[in-house]
Subunit: 405 residues, 2 copies
Amino acid sequence: RINGARLQQRIAQLAEIGAIDGGGCARLALTDADRAGRDQVCDWMRELGLAVTVDAIGNVVGVRAGRQSGAAVMTGSHIDTVRTGGRFDGNYGVLAGLEVIATLNDAGIVTEHPLAVAFFTNEEGARFAPDMMGSLVYTGALPLGEALATRGIDGTTVGEELQRIAYAGPAPVPAAAPRAFIELHVEQGPVLDREGTQIGVVESVQGISWTEIEILGTSNHAGTTPMALRRDAGWVAGAIIHFVRELAQELGGNQVATVGRIEFFPNLVNVVPNRAVLTVDLRNTDEARLQMAEARLAAHLDALRDAEKVDIATRSLARFAPVPFAAQMCDRIEHHARTQGLSTRRMPSGAGHDAQMLAAVCPTAMIFVPSVDGVSHNVREHTHPEHIEAGANVLLAVLCELAGA
Amino acid sequence: RINGARLQQRIAQLAEIGAIDGGGCARLALTDADRAGRDQVCDWMRELGLAVTVDAIGNVVGVRAGRQSGAAVMTGSHIDTVRTGGRFDGNYGVLAGLEVIATLNDAGIVTEHPLAVAFFTNEEGARFAPDMMGSLVYTGALPLGEALATRGIDGTTVGEELQRIAYAGPAPVPAAAPRAFIELHVEQGPVLDREGTQIGVVESVQGISWTEIEILGTSNHAGTTPMALRRDAGWVAGAIIHFVRELAQELGGNQVATVGRIEFFPNLVNVVPNRAVLTVDLRNTDEARLQMAEARLAAHLDALRDAEKVDIATRSLARFAPVPFAAQMCDRIEHHARTQGLSTRRMPSGAGHDAQMLAAVCPTAMIFVPSVDGVSHNVREHTHPEHIEAGANVLLAVLCELAGA
Ligand SMILES: NC(=O)NCCC(=O)O
Ligand SMILES: NC(=O)NCCC(=O)O
């Protein structure tokens, strides 16, 4: 069994890098804080005897040799965070992987197949879209050149920033597929916490659609311009925010819709905005319903374009269909959790995860533990220590079975 | 009669300072560009023989002596601009005043009373609220200390920035009232241009209400947080934008309503915003109807607070009741315009102006000239040369009568 205190200690130490008020972290992908976090985790990997490689998109993989060579059984997640991030999101999965390695080291166990712990670049997508960028490139779903050329919210590119923080490594991408992939993560939603279930067996990840919308109108005087003569880019942005909530309510079910980012130009109290840029994040577990939401949004943009006589341009920042995980992997997770006396429930993931990219190249599934009040992307994100420990023990058991311990 | 070419030449030269693409200017109050513009206009004032004083809030007054001492007949406006400003807004009134002085100098005319040309600090209110700050302090309607302590959109204060650009002058405020005040300005709205009228006789300025609204919600994950559990500050901001347009449409008449400035935090695609700040600009020529608009907005904020369980705080950035101008001053403007063969119409001003503050301390009115297509606070703001010249000739005639030429 894993050492819960040692795992918590690593989580706390990593959270000191980029720490923000309230106990959270701000380590946006490829910033100085991300570099410092990466250096720390690489040090730990080497201390644990792992062979560490860095690939061309900055993914880091630490491998523990097995009795046989060949593809490793892999676990991992990410260590980048959003600007108001918690300390568990992503970090937990990576550090629980290291805790499994430490536990095997302590017990002197050598597995049949190699074991690998990975952390993937820019999973959050907060600075550079799309999210899950590292795992997309790792599995060949996104060409390296396209990823490196991506320009972020601050105008820099992924390639420049990787060079700057010295994490553009020599290992080639796409990489050879692992033997299997398991990602342990906090749920980030309210389901497990509410019903008091200890372990979530994640069967799928819902579809994600991110669109950036740019509206071009005419700047004009707020006091002298009659309402009927306005081409108000700001009003159109507000109308989109209003519509997107209505859309989610009308579609119902598990449809969610969010406008998280917005900017007005010239952004002054007495000037009708001539330009507005905002993002829409739409998600649904059902691809047909997600497409319906996208179509409804597009139709509404057409109506707004006509009504306010503005120009509207859209750009897809990320688009992933729902991803099912491997049934036999879910069964293994459920089996080991129950053997350990833990309550389980099968569930989809509301958040995107690197595992959804790995699922395209090897048998993959995820383990969730409860998030207190379902709060995430917030410094108050929290998971109780007993759940942190329980999830890592399920991970240990599943990895041992898959790697042959 | 004034020299239209010489006036256009000064307008073009001043527009080179802080010039932006498309023929406009960005000289936000108390920036380096504003300083450079001020230096230029002060040089011109001294070349024309005016005695230049700078007061404690940075207002600049150039005085031409009359046969008698005592209060001057004053004209003037402002030379600060918004970030997407045109070249005529404010600048025209100041430079037309200088052109009147140059014309009197050329003709060797000495007036009975002194003549003064002023430009007031931060009329636009785009960087520091309230707008018309310099004239408010000049007339004693806003205490100097309060004005100097005002923090702007970039976090600096008026006092610091005045010191930095060396325009915190020795002349005391409030100042002694002028004998009368006339402000010449481009209409900035569509009325005169549409009906082909050459001169607007401005009888009043509509009421202005600026409110900054801060919404505090809970940052959370865009993918995992069910719609019903959100405290989404960004959605509330969008709902306010949506409401404000509806409010203007319902109240009808000349009610206008604008959300020109907005910011989300943390402003990331996949994070439900925990904080949003936006401004609402409401205007009406009728004080009772403006109060009704404010009350309706306040009631809607209460409803949104309850519905989304967010905190909402409001802060008044500017609040001015409608201001009537002096009837005998309007009559003088109308008389001289007609004598010069120009068509006129009586009208209210949709924009705020320094004249509305001077109206509290001396007989005051304004002269408008047409704005092509009513476009303003936009680099495309334009007034035809014949209208620029006509307005300055009306100003010349009115000032000569008031000052006794
Ligand atoms: N796990 C997680 O927060 N991923 C970020 C990508 C997303 O779902 O927005
Ligand atoms: N004239 C002018 O644009 N004044 C700025 C103040 C306002 O917003 O009306």
